[in-house]
């Protein structure tokens, strides 16, 4: 009896070792809310909930594995992951499958996957690695080079065309550059240039991307086409009121007015049924998650760890903000999932690996506060 009990305890201890309980509790709470909304949205296809459970267990495992590694080990993945990502993007551009007019998918015989997804972590990893190596000798030139490292994958993804993923990858990389200490003056200059570049950029956009921006300004112009998403999701959010219509009682979702109601627009389903109170709960959970991430970043031991933790945290923030903004009609419709709530295994995997990175950084934080 005695002999049998000891290994069990040790295994249990080993399992929770390196897992940040605050982060885990917050994330799992978000996932629970996601399941509630997903269940409601899936009245016609209950298999989705089960699928999401499977994805969640895979993602949790990935998070655990990532959390077991030291930041130094993670750093070793930077260059190979980045190079592989670029190569895959080039392969997509050459041989990718076209779905809905965009060349995003790579067919590897058994399945198709979107290489742009892995760049969401590979790009910040690469940039953080680069800045870490150049620590103490950082010059403006390094930032320019970092900008190039960021620009290549973003450009390739833009060409697919996939504005949503391109902006997310771009944002993730930008956060690293921001935390690495690019001067405010350069930042201001870049912002000005970007504003100027918007004009020619507008000309380069694909028709459907332009229409998305235009319909944001006036969704009623195209009630059958691009405006439909925004009109219907705003109605869902607004009609939820303060306390919501109650779980499983959302008419917008159940009468099939909300497109993509499992994935990018799940927030419309959630908000209709749980109302303003539900939204505030969600925002508080996100704020705590992001706050925790920023604290982890502030206490990180190395530059690489700091940059990674900061970038991943702000990535969570960007996803949440952009998704809720688009569903409530203040941001254009771009394909961004609501973190930890949207249906879909790939996004979940990326997010949980990100959480694993945060945990790894937290575990190997500075032991002595200065």
């Amino acid at each position: 009896m005695e002999l049998a009990r000891i290994p069990v305890r040790r295994i249990a201890l080993r399992l929770v070792e390196g897992i940040d309980s605050t982060l885990l509790v917050l994330i799992l709470s978000l996932c629970m809310l996601g399941f509630a909304a997903l269940f409601s949205a899936s009245y016609d296809s209950p298999g989705r909930v089960l699928n999401q459970c499977v994805s969640l267990s895979i993602a949790l495992t990935a998070m655990w594995l990532t959390a077991q590694m030291t930041p130094q080990t993670l750093m070793r993945f930077a260059v190979p992951a980045y190079v592989a990502g670029i190569v895959l993007l080039v392969l997509v551009a050459l041989f990718g499958d076209v779905v809905n007019g965009a060349r995003r998918w790579l067919n590897i015989g058994v399945a198709r996957f979107q290489p742009s997804e892995m760049l969401k972590l590979a790009v910040p990893l690469m940039l953080a690695w680069y800045f870490h190596r150049r620590e103490a000798t950082l010059r403006l030139r390094d930032f320019a080079l970092a900008g190039l490292l960021l620009g290549v994958p973003v450009g390739l993804i833009l060409r697919q065309p996939d504005l949503g993923t391109a902006s997310l990858v771009g944002a993730a990389g930008f956060y690293v550059i921001f935390f690495a200490g690019i001067s405010w003056r350069v930042l201001g200059g870049l912002a000005g240039l970007f504003a100027l570049a918007l004009f020619p950029l507008w000309g380069m956009l694909h028709d459907y991307q332009r229409r998305r921006v235009l319909t944001l300004l006036d969704p009623t112009q195209d009630p059958l086409g691009a405006g439909y998403h925004i009109i219907q999701s705003t109605i869902a959010v607004g009609s939820g009121g303060i306390s919501g219509k109650g779980w499983l009682n959302g008419t917008q979702a159940h009468l099939e007015f909300i497109p993509e109601r499992h994935t990018d627009f799940i927030f419309a389903v959630y908000s209709e049924e749980f109302g303003l109170i539900g939204n505030l709960v969600l925002l508080v959970l996100y704020a705590l998650l992001i706050g925790r991430g920023l604290v982890i970043a502030a206490n990180a031991a190395t530059l690489f760890a700091r940059l990674m933790a900061g970038s991943v945290t702000l990535m969570f923030f960007t996803y949440a903000f952009v998704n809720m903004g688009m569903v409530s009609g203040i941001l254009p419709v771009v394909g961004v999932p609501l973190p930890f709530l949207s249906y879909g295994g790939t996004a979940l995997l990326t997010l949980f690996i990100g959480a694993g990175i945060l945990m790894s950084v937290q575990r190997h934080r500075k032991l002595v506060q200065t």
Partner: protein, 638 residues
């Protein structure tokens, strides 16, 4: 010293980093603040508004597909129209088993195996269909029968739909083109063009011919209707209605009666015919035989008919007039003669002796007339179609000069006609050979190859539309126009017109006297030469040239014996013509596949076409359709 400096430095770095973390935290709070205010605005301030909207959202938006524009020929004859018919539709998501439902239905209403096969095909083709027709064109009796028994069939409804109808069946099928169900590729293209919303509620799209090239104009704008629905999604009443805007009518340059005369002249033979208006490029007739009945496609073609059309050795779906490539044979000679005059390689009166063969190196090139034509000048060379004259001429000119001149006439390049699927053909030249072949010894141009180019054989391969365009260009003294099958687009409500002006693509610099010389020589063909029999007693002046194109190569001394050659290996029969001699109003080419000598098959067809176009003379056995009573009511159906 170094150590402390570094330490202080990294401490400063850390402080800077933590400052930025703070900035990020504040940015997050601001952003979330914006979201909260948006939520408060939507869910508290505007709550009543959105609640009533959600209530209204028992309102669904139902698209109203527009009436498709008509296709009308140059004389106002309707060649594609719409009729409204009742269809019996199954809603796959609302029935338990589609098969069982069909079985039950067949007890009440006749469902043929063809209907079942077509339904199966539609199921496979259509992505996520709301409803699919199991029967089309229900009779009034069937409609009544089903209405009385409707309660027995959940998930089956009668719908009124518009169908395309082609009163002429297979006449002009390649120009008008057929309609087909919108498939995955069409859908992606529509999304790319950003017009997919306008196709909600539309099931069919133009797949070929004018139906495809002018799809945008013909389709019109989809309207929508707001319908209040109950929780099960069934419509209760209509709240608002934005009418659909009918598509525009497309008016062809084609003369449908001429087209019918031309197709009729082919009988069961395969081939192509193109008649153009010199000086405008308007296509008067464009024939590709065999054709196919366009009406087969309107309610979804059944798999058997589709397989037959696709696998037939006659390739009825191919538009031979623009996508078939043929060696021009002797119809090439007038263009060669013009080239010789323009480039100063021949004078009109320079003569040669035609002994019936031409020797080049150790090869002997035969004339089609054994023993030859004796003394031949340029005029006679066209009238009697002397091969030896053009063997020599080609040899004197060289391939580069020939290719350079023929390129000006548009040969070997797409004409840019407003129909999809045009082939480029082959204008042989050393450059072309280098591009076409891989191995160096194949890439070389041998001078011997130039010889047979002169009589329109060898690598020469052009589409009928190119030959017609070249003929029209010569007829118009060098003015080359882009061929068009559509003359203008008409808005059915405002009667407003958008015309396509004749588009001059090139003004080929030709000397007037040389053009006249060639035209006179071609007139000689029809008066006393190889076309004389076909054009005997014609009541108008015309120019022509026969051509016979080899399908298989003959050995040097082998004699072509038609009876010994398999039907598909017999020579193609060609004829190019224009009329009248002064100020021509029509230029044409006719090709009869495996029809033998040009004079025998293609020339009489051309005579029939010109007789009708210039004199209104119908060939025996063909009735003039009476447009007044047959077509008058068609326009109202729109």
């Amino acid at each position: 010293m170094m150590g402390t400096a570094e330490l202080r430095n990294s401490e400063r770095e850390l402080q800077r980093f933590q400052l930025r973390v703070g900035v990020a935290g504040i940015a997050m709070l601001v952003a979330f603040g914006i979201l909260i205010s948006r939520f408060v605005f939507l869910q508290v301030v505007q709550h009543d508004h959105y609640r009533s909207k959600a209530e209204d959202n028992r309102i669904s938006i139902v698209p109203i597909p527009p009436n498709r524009g008509l296709v009308i020929d140059r004389n106002g004859v309707v060649v594609a129209r719409n009729y409204s018919g009742y269809t019996l539709e199954i809603f796959p998501r609302r029935v338990k088993s589609v098969e069982a439902t069909i079985d039950e239905l067949s007890e009440l209403i006749e469902v043929t195996p063809r209907d079942r096969a077509r339904f199966k095909r539609l199921t496979v083709e259509t992505r996520n269909p709301e409803s699919l027709p199991i029967r089309t064109r229900l009779t009034d009796e069937e409609v009544a029968k089903f209405a009385a028994n409707r309660f027995r069939y959940e998930g089956v409804e009668i719908k009124a739909r518009l169908f395309r109808q082609y009163p002429f069946g297979d006449v002009g099928s390649h120009v008008i083109g057929y309609m087909g169900r919108i498939n995955q590729a069409d859908q992606s293209r529509l999304e790319e063009e950003g017009v997919d919303a306008n196709y909600r509620g539309t099931d069919y799209i133009g797949k070929s011919g004018v139906e495809a090239t002018y799809e945008r104009e013909l389709h019109g704008n989809t309207g929508f209707e707001q319908v209040e629905i109950d929780a099960a999604g069934r419509g209760i009443r209509t709240l608002s209605h934005t009418p659909a805007v009918s598509g525009h009518h497309v008016v062809l340059t084609l003369d449908m009666r001429l087209q019918r005369v031309a197709e009729n002249a082919f009988g069961e033979r395969r081939g192509a015919l193109v008649a153009l208006e010199p000086g405008t490029g308007a296509v008067l007739a464009l024939v590709s035989k065999p054709g196919f009945d366009l009406n087969l496609f309107v309610d979804g073609i059944d798999p058997q008919a589709w397989t037959e059309l696709n696998n037939s050795p006659d390739r009825p779906l191919n538009n031979r007039a623009i996508a078939g490539v043929y060696p021009p044979g002797s119809t090439f000679k007038p263009f060669m003669a013009l080239a010789a005059l323009e480039l100063g390689k021949r004078r009109p009166n320079s003569t040669i002796n035609d002994p019936g063969y031409f020797v080049f190196g150790d090869r002997r090139f035969r004339d089609s007339k054994p023993g030859g034509h004796g003394v031949v000048d340029l005029h006679k060379s066209i009238v009697v179609s002397s091969d030896v004259y053009y063997y020599m001429l080609a040899n004197d000119m060289g391939i580069d000069a020939i290719a350079g001149f023929m390129k000006q006439l548009g040969l070997g390049q797409p004409t840019g006609i407003d129909l999809h699927g045009e082939a480029a053909g082959v204008l042989p030249s050393p450059e072309w050979k280098t591009k076409r072949f891989r191995r160096p010894e194949q890439q070389r141009w041998y001078p011997g190859e130039t010889i047979s180019i002169g009589i329109g054989q060898g690598y020469n391969a052009y589409t009928p539309i190119q030959l017609a365009q070249a003929m029209a260009t010569v007829a118009a003294n060098g003015a080359m126009y882009r061929p068009r099958v559509v003359g203008h687009i008409e808005n059915p409500r405002t009667r407003g017109r958008r015309s396509f002006e004749p588009e001059l693509t090139a003004q080929v610099p030709l000397k007037r006297e040389y053009v006249e010389f060639v035209k006179r020589a071609m007139a000689g063909v029809n008066k006393e030469g190889t076309g004389a029999r076909a054009f005997a007693k014609a009541e108008y002046t015309s120019g022509g040239k026969t051509g016979t194109a080899q399908v298989i190569a003959m050995k040097q001394n082998e004699k072509y014996d038609e009876s010994k050659v398999a039907e598909r290996h017999r020579d193609h029969s060609l004829f190019i013509a224009f009329a009248p001699l002064d100020n021509p109003i029509i230029a044409m080419v006719a090709i009869v596949e495996n029809g033998g000598f040009g004079a025998r098959a293609a020339a009489p067809i051309s005579r029939t076409v010109l007789d009708y176009y210039l004199l209104g003379k119908l060939p025996p056995g063909l009735q003039e359709p009476t447009p007044e009573d047959e077509f008058e009511d068609d326009k109202e159906s729109d």
